[in-house]
């Protein structure tokens, strides 16, 4: 009767060869990642404790950046006030922050969807690129009515991102190749595809219309005015449309995950493939949909960047929106609400970083800071677990 604990003792994997594969016991990269997805949602400590930890480690990451600044001879006070000024100092700064946060949030929301379904797609960067390519084809090549241009561009971006991601899912469910690997490799394929399209004689290349000196750089033409995502005034801030879209999508997705039948099935699949199997959920189908959804959202992020931020495709036009969005979702531990918050923090840092240059502080400091925040936000579960263990052992001692 004491057997449940035995199954955690080392050799009582003992009867492993004698029993069917029950549960998440697959092998390989994806299975390992999938178990992590299960584990990441496990933290069931008191909510207050979790929030304190979150804020603490978030602050720790930022402080690490400030310390680095101080070590290299820049006043942390100046850095901090510049960052605050540049991100939330006035209406323009806030608009900047929101512009930078929008694509991150879209990518992060997609990442949450596929990872909650247990599909470890890490190729968002490539899917963003494909989204921009899709949107680019529409705005540069399609002769549509101006009012249709933006919807068409988004449709193309969604489709392109989804199909690119579907490649990875297809390889996983037909050939058993780990999605971690393929989605990663596809990022770099997408990068080369983009360069091929905007350089030399690629279809998206800006030939410069005969202007002297133009047409040599590898870049697309600028986005026509009719396709530019504008902004809408709210509370005295010009809120970019991209951000509004992103927030609406994120909120809808959170609701979808929580309440819809498919959302339920998706979460069951991610957290307990074994239970999902008994309920008749087919991983190959639902998993593919989840990966495609995440690809579509990353593609939408590509469109938002192109139409609302860079207005042109060039070599590094998306400046790692895909990677950063992925990290936002991971650091938020696959929670959409926290993702919104973190996307705003990241956006604020990007916006604030723009002003740092004026103070003689290299802009790259914010990249250090965001990465430090991500790394340090990985730690709360470990810290909480340690805390709980100590509390438990103290309780035992007290007895």
């Amino acid at each position: 009767m004491t057997d449940t604990k035995f199954s955690s003792a080392p050799s009582s994997g003992a009867d492993a060869p004698q029993r069917p594969r029950s549960g998440a016991g697959g092998r390989g990269l994806d299975a390992a990642a999938g178990r992590w997805v299960g584990a990441v949602r496990t933290n069931s400590g008191p909510a207050a404790e979790q929030i304190v930890m979150f804020v603490l480690f978030l602050a720790f990451g930022i402080v690490a950046g400030l310390v680095l600044g101080a070590l290299t001879g820049h006043s942390p006070g100046v850095i901090w006030s510049t960052l605050v000024q540049g991100s939330v100092g006035d209406a323009t700064s806030i608009a900047f922050t929101l512009t930078a946060a929008a694509p991150l949030l879209l990518v992060a929301a997609g990442t949450v969807i596929c990872m909650r379904a247990g599909q470890f797609n890490i190729g968002q960067e490539g899917q963003v690129t494909l989204g921009a390519i899709g949107a680019g084809f529409v705005v540069f090549k399609v002769d549509a009515a101006p009012s249709l241009l933006i919807p068409l561009a988004f449709a193309a971006a969604l489709a392109a991102g989804a199909l690119w991601a579907a490649l990875a899912a297809l390889l996983k469910f037909s050939r058993g190749v780990d999605i971690v690997v393929t989605s990663l490799l596809l990022v770099f394929l997408a990068e080369q595809l983009l360069v091929a399209l905007i350089s030399g004689d690629g279809p998206l290349h800006d030939s410069g219309d005969g202007v002297l000196g133009a047409g040599t750089a590898s870049q697309s033409p600028p986005v026509p005015d009719a396709a530019i995502l504008g902004s809408m005034g709210m509370f005295g801030v010009e809120v970019p449309v991209g951000f509004v879209i992103a927030v609406v999508v994120a909120v809808l997705l959170a609701w979808f995950l929580r309440s819809s039948l498919s959302g339920y099935r998706l979460r069951i699949l991610g957290q307990s493939p074994a239970v999902a199997r008994t309920l008749g959920v087919r991983e190959s189908r639902l998993g593919t949909w989840a990966v495609m959804a995440s690809g579509a959202l990353a593609g939408a992020a590509g469109a938002v960047v192109l139409l609302g931020q860079s207005f042109q495709i060039h070599g590094n036009f998306a400046s790692s929106v895909g990677w950063n969005g992925l990290l936002v979702a991971l650091a938020a531990r696959l929670n959409i609400g926290v993702s919104i918050l973190l996307a705003l923090v990241f956006g604020a840092m990007t916006a604030g970083g723009g002003l740092l240059g004026g103070q003689g502080v290299p802009t790259d400091l914010v990249n250090v800071m965001t990465a430090a925040v991500v790394v340090s936000l990985l730690c709360p579960p470990v810290a909480l677990a340690a805390l709980r263990r100590r509390r438990q052992s103290r309780k035992v001692e007290a007895e």
Binding site: S8, A9, P10, S11, G13, R27, G28, L29, A31, A32, A33, W36, V40, L68, T72, G73, F120, I122, L171, R175, G176, V177, D178, V180, V181, T182, L184, L185, L186, V187, F188, L189, E191, Q192, L193, V195, A196, S199, S320, W323, N324, L326, L327, L330, P362, D364, L365, V366, N367, V368, M369, T370, A371, A372, V374, V375, L378, C379, V382
Partner: protein, 302 residues
């Protein structure tokens, strides 16, 4: 133009591009055989490149640069190993975040330091360097290039020792290895450190020995090419080296082809490593010698 000259042009362009891939590939090969799907190899190379340049600039000696660079890359490996093997954090998440961290850190530090790198000229190996076609590209290179056979030999030799055996055991069957009395996570950390060392040397080669400068993000995804090389090489030593060579030549062709008047899309060549890796996974799949427990964390229950 003669074929010999063309071949020499291509080789001369390819060898310097292959060398960093081979170094890092030899590291990643070991890390993956021990069971870690190490994504931070990009960060390791980049920190090797920067801190190598910094060391060489501060001391004026490329050798010191090599040491500082390798050490810095090993610090990345150490952090990765401790976070993912000790604290059991997800290794991909750790790897990706470390890459971003290193990229930001090196770019930032670059702006607050001025690097004056010593010039490293090729060390000509007598006689061998006079062989036509292959002589110049292979045997008139900075001395660090000649470390490649040394590293290959070390791996080849370690593979036949107990340590090599244990490393492979950890990559294939961590539970069985644990029952046999192998400290799985310690071995995996050691493999990761070795990966740091090799990737660091590859990075130093890029900045100190080849470019004589450091630019922000100068590894430009080479770490990921290396991962593709290990996959395309079927997780075998020979295969990994071969794949690195193929990928290096593909990069070299981008430079050399315009010079000899042939045009292939440079993007296609740049995409080749990833395409080949995906295709080999797709076609060969299970026949590759993929470590059975690759990417699986091992949590000892003691």
């Amino acid at each position: 133009m003669s074929i010999g000259l063309d071949a020499q042009t291509i080789l001369a362009a390819s060898v310097p591009l292959t060398v960093p891939l081979v170094f890092a590939g030899l590291g990643e090969y070991v890390a993956q055989r021990a069971g870690t799907f190490n994504l931070s190899v990009e960060g390791m190379m980049l920190s090797g490149a920067f801190f190598g340049a910094w060391g060489a600039s501060a001391s004026g000696s490329p050798l010191i640069g090599l040491l500082t660079g390798a050490a810095a890359a090993m610090v990345v490996a150490l952090v990765h190993g401790n976070l993912s093997h000790r604290l059991q954090l997800n290794t991909y998440v750790v790897g990706l975040s470390l890459n971003v961290l290193v990229l930001g850190l090196t770019s930032y530090l670059l702006t607050s330091t001025t690097l004056t790198l010593p010039n490293v000229s090729g060390t000509r190996i007598p006689l061998l360097a006079d062989i036509p076609v292959i002589g110049e590209p292979f045997f008139d290179q900075p001395w660090v290039v000649y470390l490649v056979p040394v590293v290959v030999f070390v791996i080849w030799w370690v593979r036949r020792t107990r340590v090599g055996l244990e490393l492979r055991a950890c990559g294939d069957e961590p539970i069985g290895s644990d029952l046999t009395g192998i400290n799985v996570n310690a071995r995996r950390r050691q493999a990761l450190l070795w990966c740091g060392l090799c990737a660091g040397v590859g990075g130093v080669y890029l900045s100190v020995f080849q470019a004589s400068s450091f630019t922000s993000g100068m590894t430009a995804g080479r770490g990921y090419i290396v991962i593709a090389a290990v996959i395309f090489g079927g997780w075998m030593l020979r295969g990994t080296i071969g794949a690195c060579a193929v990928f290096g030549v593909a990069q070299g062709l981008q430079l050399a082809l315009p010079a000899i008047g042939v045009s292939i899309s440079p993007q296609l060549l740049a995409a080749l490593p990833y395409l080949l890796a995906i295709v080999s996974l797709m076609v060969l799949g299970n026949r590759l010698h993929r470590p059975l427990a690759l990417g699986q964390p091992f949590a000892p229950s003691r």
